[in-house]
Subunit: 223 residues, 4 copies
DNA sequence: GATGAATGAGCATTCATTCAT
DNA sequence: CATGAATGAATGCTCATTCAT
């Protein structure tokens, strides 16, 4: 019976988590609407119905708040990847499913991709606590590893070349994804024709995936 | 004959061009050192030994000045691509040479890549005159077309699949390049291990290029 | 009999005093390290292992906490003065001993001098409870009176001029001390040469003390 | 004839100086009313009818603006000292005149004394350009030297002891002045009786000055 | 055309203090 | 009594851009 001897501590923990999420939700909507630079901490505070100072009790800086959005994004990535992996199909199909998920996720939540690109800013780590950076690195590592395991299972199944650097394959897949997103958005930004992302996205995968496969007989070589 | 009826006009034109270049050179060095956000128009003015106001007679805004750096970058890209194409080797070698050039150019002038990524910023066109955007689009189009012609020549030579969307191939190559650069720089930024760009870069091309080739006999298909 | 009718009350009193001292000790070390402006109540709370709110149950404000450090400083002054007085030497030696003590105390605990100078801030009394101000005034009065008694004993012994305003003498001594400290620290702050405090301090006393003495015969007068 | 070839440059220089003085005047009145901490750059801007940004084109920081007030204060000190020196009286009278001037100046412009005490703040130099610190040091040096020359002339006249460290004498005089000001203002601040500054100020000088004099015959010595 | 002094809106961040538990 | 999360007002400073000369 003598259970929950510290009811306050537990509730506090819960409330802290809830409030943190409240801020993150407000932040997501503001950053989404205005972009990082034009977003103001004041608006985030208003939208979360908290005081500005409270935001800073949960996040060290505007940058840290922005980057913290990636925690949930990466969690969703993980779920998507595990979903693709758990589908039970052959490894190449799993990989294709991951790729499709990446694309679908981008269409649904493009702002997360902007936050991902934000990580590219030099000197970012000055504004963010080491713990957050560590967490980002950790989650990214987990996700990359999950996809690498799919590739590895393709190798094990004799489907992919046995000399593949599976981690490198994932890096390349990810790079291709981010690069495509960037290209398409840049074109739209500059008013250049930017159609066909879907097709391009699909084909790019096929081309790349082809290079991973084990050859039964040589393909045509010009030299 | 050789009409020099307007010597002043000609000289003026020349001086204007020289001064414009002066500004661009100063801008490049400042943006390079400080990044776009931390660079100030005042420092660029000082370094070009011109007045701040003069900068605005040549460039509509800080953004336009930054983006204008891409004119020369794209010219260098063009030269690199034409160099690869003029090497006389087979199309796949030409393509590989282009890819190597991209990499080498990044190593030498990484700041141009940052300016390229800058184009991704939403709402950028508000700060830039249409002419500049047009010029960027034009030059990009030229370069993409040049590479696409190499791919096409590969198709014509029976080396690449005849159903290739050559323009799409170039988009994918370019996306892969930019994505890799971004990934590597992000990792460095976050203190994550970020070695092996060179190898990765090389392999990524091989994998991708493989998917472009015409198949003599089918490779292993799992399903 | 030994009434322990209110053991809790007594213990409470003791605990309250101990906790108060705990806070003062933490405050001293924080103010010492950071200075008044850069010190935060939060850090003081952490270092005393108490909650921020608790600090405010003992001290009305940050200012009051800072100024309250002077209680112990003034107690130490009192001990120093009484030590000098109890040495049994002639009054002028006692006075010199006081002066030496002032100097030694500054060398050991310069932060107390900063708190003393802090009293100079206009509008300070708004942030401090009257009781604390009263206590400061009281202790200062006691100390000044003690020194004044030494001067008076010098007068009584025929050593010092009989028309001396002994209280004024002490004011001047104290002012000279504080002024010297300020001058030396300002010079150090501005990177100006600031040597010789010790010598200066010593000589200043001799010059001043000389003016207090009863003249047996006139000294040279120029006019 | 060909005179004033650069009238614009000259006028600009003049205007810059005038505007700088405008700011200093506004700053003096605001700092005077509110004290350093409660003064805001915005109010100084309003009162000088300039934009906030303009203030920062003339002064690097709020601190630098405050401290720059001392330029004019020190100039007034210099004039006062030279006036005392030029009075033609004997050295001790000149010194007394300097002392009286110090006192009068404090009564008229007590805010300058607060700025002088401000120099005591640790870490001040971080907020002030080296040039300003240098200038402060320079002007202070000039003034101290001028007073030291008076003392020296007293020594030369056989009035003061020949073993005097004249520079030290001035340091002590200055310290005594600042210490007295501080003591009196502290007392007023704490509601303690703080009368008699004038008398005290006068007597302090007499006592101190006495110690500088050459003795014709020994005064009473107790030991 | 060139100049460069002036502009001034805009914003992240701090921290002493409160008060519900 | 102790707690410590929440508050939110308050402010120094930047810097792209303009425009009178």
């Amino acid at each position: 019976m003598m259970s929950n001897s510290k009811p306050t501590a537990a509730r506090r923990e819960r409330e802290r988590g809830a409030r943190r999420q409240l801020i993150l939700d407000a932040a997501k909507s503001v950053f989404d609407e205005r972009g990082f630079l034009n977003a103001t901490m004041e608006e985030i505070a208003e939208r979360s119905e908290l005081a500005v100072g409270t935001l800073y009790r949960y996040f060290q800086s505007k940058e840290e708040l922005y980057v913290s959005l990636l925690f949930e994004a990466m969690e969703m990535f993980r779920e998507g990847i595990e979903g693709a992996r758990g589908s039970g199909g052959p490894p190449n199909e799993q990989l294709r499913a991951v790729w499709r998920f990446f694309y679908a996720f981008y269409r649904e939540q493009p702002e997360y991709y902007r936050a991902l690109m934000f990580l590219h800013n030099e000197g970012l780590s000055d504004a963010i606590s080491p713990g957050v950076i560590q967490e980002i690195n950790h989650r990214a590592g987990v996700n990359f590893r999950l996809v690498a395991e799919i590739v590895q299972s393709g190798v094990d199944a004799g489907l992919y070349r046995s000399d593949l650097d599976t981690r490198g394959v994932v890096d390349v897949l990810w790079s291709l994804l981010m690069g495509l997103v960037q290209l398409i958005e840049t074109r739209r930004n500059l008013g250049a024709p930017a159609d066909m992302l879907e097709t391009l996205h699909y084909e790019a995968f096929e081309w790349l995936e082809c290079g991973l496969r084990r050859r039964v007989s040589a393909s045509v070589r010009a030299n």
